[in-house]
């Protein structure tokens, strides 16, 4: 029986794309367009992996992630986070000229702090971030590392 992956993202195109990628590689996929729908579907359906977009309306990926970790049934399901900023953050950190990123200072700081918090609590590992645009091969590689074939 193939493993089931839940994709929670408000961008239809991303959902569609990731579903095809997953299906092509022998995984079954379900999707939700926001956190609320995702939580409801997770209650009905048991999945092996959750792919969570960080930036979503209504509930951000981090808020949903924390809820997942609080839930007894869902706590152990691995989570892979999609972000448009993970690579950007690394880029920014390496920038010597701070003025480049000034307008995003507080946003960047809050993101970094959130990521830092998760790392320190031991709930989350660095390899669980996937940056957009998503390369299908490395994406599948990461999923295989997490949950196997």
């Amino acid at each position: 029986m193939s493993k089931k992956v839940m994709i929670i993202d408000d961008d239809e195109n991303t959902v569609k794309f990731l579903s095809v990628v997953l299906n092509e590689n022998g995984y079954e996929s379900v999707s939700a367009c926001d956190g609320r729908e995702g939580m409801e579907k997770l209650k009905e359906d048991r999945v092996d992996l959750i792919i969570l977009d960080v930036m979503m309306p209504k509930k951000t990926g981090f808020v949903l992630f924390k809820q997942l970790k609080k839930s007894e049934q869902l706590r152990d399901i691995p989570v892979l986070m999609l972000t448009g900023v993970a690579a950007s953050l690394a880029d920014m950190d390496s920038e010597s000229d701070d003025t480049m990123a000034r307008p995003y200072d507080s946003l960047r700081e809050s993101l970094r702090k959130a990521i830092q918090d998760m790392r320190e609590s031991g709930d989350i590992k660095p390899e669980m971030f996937v940056d957009k645009p998503i390369d299908p091969d490395s994406f599948i590689e990461k999923i295989r590392q997490l949950i196997g074939e």
Partner: protein, 628 residues
């Protein structure tokens, strides 16, 4: 000062002249009087002598002793060297009978000086039968006293043994004696010389005494006063006279002391005032320079030294142009000063000693003296080089930040678009491989969407960068917001957002470009609709947008307002809401909408402000001016 005519000398000279005149007069008068007195005494004696001689002659004649008479006269002549001559003259014939100097028998003329004693008018007749005397000049040139004693026919003469003179009262002869006054005059002259010498000595002594007294009483205290005044004039205001004198000089010294006290007090006050003023000018951090009418630097304060690196000794007396990076900038400032009394905050550049350019704000004023004449120019400059550098730095960094934002944003947008394109391509390829028509279409749709996003971004960027011109026309703003409501109604109803309007009917038409204002308001309302989407509304609360139009309280501006009850914004977002390429929208925000809106409102001389509270909602308020 060299005193050429000392006061004591002058006074002494005056006294000397007066004393000389008085003493000389006294000496002359006393000499004259004593001479007169001595002469009178001599005359008395001489007359007595003459009378004695005549008595002797009488006796000898009565005794008919003619030879004895001659002997007697010669004896008398020998007896005293005083007698110059003793002669007996027969009268009226005038023939000399006996004489020491003249020969007997010589006839005397009536015009002889001795004759004139009795014959006053040269007449032969005279009543004068008394002894006469006269001063004559003797044969050796010296003065002589001549005494003439008449020998009168007395009653005894008619009874004499020798011969009888019948007529009585007749003058029978004349006894003429002459006494030399040479010794007398010598004596008198000697006496006068002694008196004169004594007088001169007295005058000299008196003058010396006066000189000494003047020197002591007047000149010395006066010189002390002069020394005091000189000391005062030389700037030593501590000098005082010890007030010991009780005369007029003492009064002057007291007055001097008072004056010195006052000058000292005034001087101290003045010094304090000057030091205070100098302190202000000197210690201000600003550059304070004064220049005379010919453009030469007069003063240069500490602030100037510090800012420009010159010591004041290097620039005072030099031309002011040396401090200007471009002397023409000074010319321009001075030209402006000709038009008005002051030039304030004139931005110009000084050149420091190390050739560094200092940016300054220069304030120029005319320097006038008490009578209002212009005596130069006062320049106070504030060194704004640091501020200027910071400003340039800020502009540069803001430019860089804006470029950074733009690049980051565009990169981010492109990433999302690439994700869509790549996703679409992948889906289409899988569809082709598996021969699933449906999947091919899906993939192509994704590619189309990605492409349309790219062209949308590029269009938006063009739109933002474009030169907008306002074609203003009187516009009914209530009409305009109705159009907005119509345009957004479908999206709003799809998302469950209600849009309502509040219109102030009294508002006149407002001059603006209706298409541009429509675009702006559309952008704001679209943002509000997006924001509503992001909020997790509580039960009983529904997403709502209210669009208002009304007249501002000053009656001169129209206000367009869009209020929502959506997620609101954090302070950081509020601060950057009009910044180009700043966007909080997840995937497709260009960050250009509100930046463009703000620009367009600015082109209308209007204003756009935002009020927002996180979780509560946001109000965008546009004010547009109109002529009431």
């Amino acid at each position: 000062m060299q005193i050429r005519n000392r006061l004591a000398w002058k006074l002494s000279a005056v006294v000397l002249v007066i004393a000389f005149v008085v003493i000389l007069g006294t000496v002359l008068l006393s000499s004259l009087l004593s001479r007169q007195y001595a002469l009178e005494a001599a005359r008395g004696i001489m007359q007595f002598n003459s009378a004695s001689i005549r008595s002797g002659i009488d006796e000898l004649m009565m005794g008919r002793h003619d030879a004895g008479m001659l002997e007697f006269i010669e004896e008398m002549s020998r007896w005293s060297t005083t007698y110059q001559d003793i002669s007996l003259v027969s009268h009226p014939s005038g023939t000399i009978a006996v004489s020491r100097l003249l020969d007997s028998g010589t006839k005397l003329e009536l015009n002889q000086k001795s004759c004139k004693g009795c014959h006053i008018n040269g007449d032969s007749q005279t009543d004068m039968l008394e002894t006469q005397d006269a001063l004559v000049t003797g044969p050796n040139g010296s003065r002589a006293l001549q005494v003439i004693t008449p020998i009168i026919n007395k009653p005894s003469c008619r009874t004499a043994d020798c011969h009888i003179h019948f007529e009585s009262g007749q003058v029978l002869g004349i006894l003429q004696t002459e006494y030399s006054l040479a010794r007398f005059d010598d004596l008198m002259n000697g006496l006068s010389l002694q008196q004169a010498l004594a007088a001169v000595l007295a005058i000299l002594l008196a003058t010396g005494a006066l000189l000494f007294m003047f020197q002591r009483l007047l000149a010395k205290p006066l010189r002390r006063l002069v020394t005091g005044i000189d000391t005062l004039a030389s700037g030593d205001f501590g000098f005082r006279f010890s007030a010991q004198r009780d005369d007029e000089i003492g009064l002057v010294e007291d007055s001097f002391n008072d004056l010195a006290d006052q000058i000292l007090a005034h001087q101290r006050e003045l010094k304090r005032a000057v030091e205070y003023m100098e302190g202000i000018v000197e210690n201000t951090a600003d550059i304070v320079i004064t220049v005379n009418n010919n453009g030469f630097i007069q003063t240069f304060n500490q602030g100037a030294e510090k800012a420009l690196g010159y010591g004041r000794h290097e620039v005072v007396g030099q031309r002011i142009e040396m401090l200007f990076a471009d002397p023409k900038e000074r010319e321009a400032a001075i030209a402006k000063l000709q038009e008005q009394e002051n030039v304030t905050n004139w931005e110009t550049r000084f050149k420091a000693k190390d050739d560094q350019i200092r940016h300054v704000l220069l304030t120029l004023s005319r320097l006038r003296n008490r009578s209002g004449e212009i005596i130069g120019t006062l320049g106070i400059s504030k060194d704004i080089t640091t501020e200027k550098d910071l400003q340039m730095e800020l502009i540069r960094s803001e430019k860089e930040a804006a470029i950074g934002r733009a690049v980051t944003h565009i990169q981010h947008s492109i990433k999302n678009m690439l994700n869509t394109l790549r996703g679409g391509l992948y889906v289409a390829r899988v569809g082709m491989k598996k021969n699933r028509q449906e999947q091919i279409v899906e993939g192509c749709e994704m590619i189309e969407e990605g492409l349309s996003r790219i062209s949308g971004l590029s269009l938006n960027m063009l739109k933002y960068a474009r030169e907008w011109t306002v074609e203003a026309e009187p516009t009914d703003l209530s009409d305009l917001i109705e159009k907005i409501v119509v345009a957004t109604s479908q999206t709003a109803s799809e998302r469950g957002v209600s849009i309502r309007t509040e219109v102030d009917g009294s508002l006149p038409n407002v001059p603006c470009d209706p298409q541009l204002i429509h675009m702006c308001l559309m952008d704001i309302v679209s943002n509000a609709l997006d924001a509503c989407e992001l909020k997790d509304y509580d039960e009983g609360e529904d997403p709502e947008i209210v669009i208002r139009v009304y007249c501002a309280s000053d009656g001169k501006r129209a206000v367009l307002e869009a209020q929502d009850n959506a997620i609101g914004m954090a302070q950081e977002v509020i601060d950057n809401v009009f910044t180009p390429f700043f966007s909080t929208k997840k995937k497709w925000g260009t960050g250009l909408g509100l930046a463009l809106t703000s620009r367009i409102i600015g082109l209308h001389d209007g204003k756009i402000v935002v009020e927002s509270e996180e979780g509560e909602g946001t109000v965008f308020r546009i004010t547009l001016p109109f002529e009431s």
